[in-house]
Amino acid sequence: MTIDIFWRIPTHGEPSSHRSRTPHRGDWFPGNDNLRNASVAGGNGGFSYLDYIAEIAHAAEISGFQGGLIPSFPMTDEPWVISSLLARETSTFRFMIPFQPGFLNPVVAARMTASLQRATGGRALYNVITGGGGPSQLWWGDAAGHDDRYTRTTEFLDIVRGVWRGGSFSYQGKFYQVEDAGLAHPLSVQDFPEIYFSGSSDAALASASKHADYYLTWLEPFEQLREKFAKVKEKTDKLGRKIKCAVRVDIVARATEEEAWAEVAKGFANTDKATLDAFLGIDGSDSVGAARQRGNRPTTVNSYKDLIVEPNIWSGFNLLRGGQTQGIVGSYEQVAQRLDDLVQLGADAFILASTPHLEEAYRVGEEVLPLVRGQGSKQLLRAVG
């Protein structure tokens, strides 16, 4: 068995390095609503941010990544659109599409997915997310409550699977009902997309156990992850299914560990007080995953070193850019080793990211991925032990 390694598409803007949030590529970065020019110099060459995203997708497939996660936030372009736009000009890049089931009719979603499979030769996959909740959920026009949303997710995936092979599928759920539904040929002969599933609450785990191929989590303290993976695998085993686990992690990999930390130190030094205060505060989300990461955070920070939580693990990544807090910092060998450590405690796939995503796709693909042993590291351990 081999592990799958994905890259990330920075739909949420792209500074030119981890050292500073500016200058940047594309037309958006946190806290600035006014930037509109997609060209780096602010000129108008007729390019849009999608042109840059396309370059990253090409870099990722050239460098040996499976494909990429295309995050969706209120300020980003949408992954369904990006995937369809890039379908024709990519060869092996797999489009990992995050979406919240409540936003789409499930039969429409099945048709969209089957069409995308046809357009790409089966390169679409899902990252099913069920929403951070709170006021942001109503920004999206979604009024369902937290546990209700997981019921809806389960029903949604029941229907997408039910109609996928054609035929005549009926379903009476709380949120969705269909009568005699089924995709038409040739939509009905496509491969069903792999499902990466996010969510840390009990309701999420129950839904994931039923439908997910991969249980996807942010990086958390390693022992905490080991327990989490064991729990989700146990729940799934009880249902007679097998589930794999995947970790989404930002990295800073350099030839030496010193160089890697120097990069982080420069980024930390350029962090302004407002960003640091926000980092130490609490947001309004009811996401359990966000709380699990927040729990590991110190209350005062004077140096980037205060945020080193275990060897080569730094918990200040969202000071450098939005998103998760914890990531891996180290030499190429160390980063590969930490990924192998994660494989040993249950990870079967990774979504990696580093800024800037274009150049770093080549660096990580050329310097780190060849050092990762993946499942081979498990066999080695068994042989020694």
């Binding site: 007729g46 372009d77 369809s84 024709r88 969209m112 046809r118 357009a119």
Partner: protein, 339 residues
């Protein structure tokens, strides 16, 4: 008012003799179907499929200077948003009109996806929101809205989609959609709204278009039958203080001479098992001169958006683009000056 010519893409199949069930271009129409004899090797395997063909039809419309392509709402075919995205980067100037019904999903999510299209295509994306099918068909597609609410939901869908694209913060609470503190900001705000194409023959549909549509597309009918509808639509729109373009969805079968056109039309209708009367109602059949005259008559009656189609769609896009578009544009400019 400028006149636009839109080419309708054949999302559910296309072929030389309209036998799309046998010769779906680019892919095997039925599993296991082998088009060549045992004596000839076929290098294609399954490397190509229908998307490659649709791409070529869209390119034909783009190169021959159509104003847009319509990816129709087709519950049995490929999903229109995905098709439109697939075609976007291979085309340069055609408007990409995706057809769908308002049961697609959240109006906010639709608007947000539309903004991504606009940003990536320099504002070439448009919506054709259709009323769709009967209640039983809707239930087959997980959509339980009753007949009486179909238009009301389109109304709300357009309101909310426009609201979040133009206003932040945006709040709305209706019968079908609810938003709190919504609205797109930063690079997602202030993008060109996708023009909205609506249709329908009822007074209620006309009234909805008068309030919400950029274009109301009428089904094919003789020009004299359309005049009262055009007048009514314009009357309702001006009562709202709006201008509404009127469109016409019609097939064309144009040849160098009328006899050739008639012969091909009869052949086509017999192949597709359509009776001649309904075929004639749906299709302009004639010489290039005849078809030009018919279209000019529609334009004079107030039609400014022509949604055209002909089988096979690749060859006929080139034919219409080469033989009719240049002379039509010259003719319509002349007619406007004379008027």
């Amino acid at each position: 008012m400028t006149i636009e010519f839109i080419w309708q893409l054949p999302t559910s199949g296309d072929g030389r003799y309209s036998h799309a069930d046998v010769t779906r271009r680019g892919e095997r129409a039925t599993p296991g179907h082998v088009p060549f004899t045992d004596g000839v090797s076929d290098p294609r395997g399954d490397r190509f499929n229908y998307f490659d063909y649709l791409h070529q039809v869209a390119r034909a419309a783009d190169i021959t200077d159509f104003d847009g392509v319509l990816v129709p709402h087709d519950l049995e075919g490929d999903e229109s948003w995905i098709v439109a995205g697939y075609l976007a980067r291979g085309t340069r100037h055609v408007r990409l009109i995706a057809g769908f019904d308002a049961g697609w999903g959240s109006a906010v999510y639709a608007a947000k996806n539309a903004v991504s299209f606009q940003r990536a295509t320099n504002g070439r994306f448009a919506w054709q929101i259709v009323q769709g099918h009967d209640a039983a068909t809707r239930r087959r597609h997980a959509d339980n809205v009753p007949d009486a609410d179909v238009l009301a939901r389109i109304d709300e869908f357009v309101t909310v989609a426009r609201g979040v694209q133009t206003t932040a913060p945006y709040d709305f609470k209706g019968r079908f959609f609810e938003v709190q503190g919504g609205g797109f900001r930063g690079p997602l705000g202030g993008n060109p709204l996708p023009p909205v194409y609506l249709g329908g023959a009822s007074e209620e549909a006309f009234a909805l278009s008068a309030r919400q549509a950029d274009v109301h597309v009428l089904d094919a009918a003789p020009v004299d039958e359309l005049r009262p509808h055009i007048a009514r639509l314009q009357e309702l729109a001006s009562a709202q203080g709006r201008t509404l373009a009127i469109g016409l969805r019609i097939d064309v079968l144009a040849r160098e001479d009328a006899a050739e056109a008639r012969c091909d039309a009869d052949l086509y209708w017999s192949q597709t098992r359509q009776d001649r009367a309904s075929g004639e109602r749906r299709t302009l059949v004639g010489s290039y001169d005849d078809v030009e005259q018919h279209l000019a008559d529609y334009a004079a009656a107030g039609i400014s958006s022509f949604v055209l189609g002909a089988t096979p769609h690749l060859e006929e896009a080139w034919r219409f683009g080469e033989h009719l578009l240049p002379r039509l544009r010259a003719r319509l400019a002349q007619d406007r000056q004379a008027a």
